[in-house]
């Protein structure tokens, strides 16, 4: 069974501070995705990283995929109240050579940015 551990589970920081959320596993994934979920809604994709060591930037958010494709991090610079939400990482792995990948979700990080 593949597991993705996210840390921290909860994070509350002041507006303007920087933060990093980690997503770790002992398993290798073909790609890793980061989602954000609002209450009463489904997860919304932020980014997909595919290559080991890959770094992607989305405005103030920086995503990195570990060299071994087992872990990832999300770094937010100068956090704003609008960044508040539940952040989920999810690893994709192919069950067989004929199947599409299914997602293994992380445990989630609930982020609160205090104005």
């Amino acid at each position: 069974t593949q597991l993705l551990e996210q840390s921290p589970q909860f994070l509350s920081i002041q507006e303007g501070e920087n933060l990093t959320v980690y997503c770790n596993s002992s398993s290798v994934f073909s790609s890793l995705q980061w989602y954000r979920q609002e209450p009463g809604e489904g997860p919304v994709l932020l980014v997909t990283v595919v290559t080991g060591g890959e770094v992607k930037k989305l405005k103030r958010l920086t995503f990195q995929f570990g060299d071994a494709r087992k872990d990832s991090s999300l770094h937010i610079t100068a956090a704003q109240p609008g960044d508040t939400g539940l952040y989920l990482c999810a690893g994709a792995n192919r069950r067989s050579n004929f199947g599409n990948e299914k997602l293994t979700f992380g445990t989630g990080t609930r982020l609160t940015i205090i104005p």
Binding site: L4, S30, S31, Q33, G40, E41, G42, P43, V44, L45, T48, V50, L88, A90, A92, R95, S96, F98, G99, N100, E101, K102, L103, T104, F105, G106, T107, G108
Partner: protein, 115 residues
């Protein structure tokens, strides 16, 4: 363009009853996935359709769960008979192709409560 829609948004049923959840994927998306989150746990994969065929149903918990996608359009997930531990939020997602290269769009979820 309409996103993934799920119906109902909430359902409260008694233990032993039957419930059917419905998912309408984005038009043209051959891949349809069911996931669920039970309280306090991470979102877990249930199964994956490619058009009307079940590609991977390794996440289905037991034979009380039956998923169908007749005609390769909308999908239903029936729970019969429902048990208390089936309570949770059931998400449906759809994608055009492999998750490495295309986005999976999630519905808002159906919150199922078995009492």
């Amino acid at each position: 363009e309409a996103g993934v829609t799920q119906f109902p948004s909430h359902s409260v049923i008694e233990k032993g009853q039957t419930v059917t959840l419905r998912c309408d994927p984005i038009s043209g998306h051959d891949n349809l996935y069911w996931y669920r989150r039970v309280m306090g746990k991470e979102i877990k994969f249930l199964l994956h359709f490619v058009k009307e065929s079940k590609q991977d149903e390794s996440g289905m918990p037991n034979n009380r769960f039956l998923a169908e996608r007749t005609g390769g359009t909308y999908s239903t997930l029936k729970v019969q008979p429902a048990e208390l531990e089936d309570s949770g939020v059931y998400f449906c997602a759809s994608s055009q192709g492999a998750l490495k290269y295309t986005e999976a769009f999630f519905g808002q979820g159906t919150r199922l409560t078995v009492v």
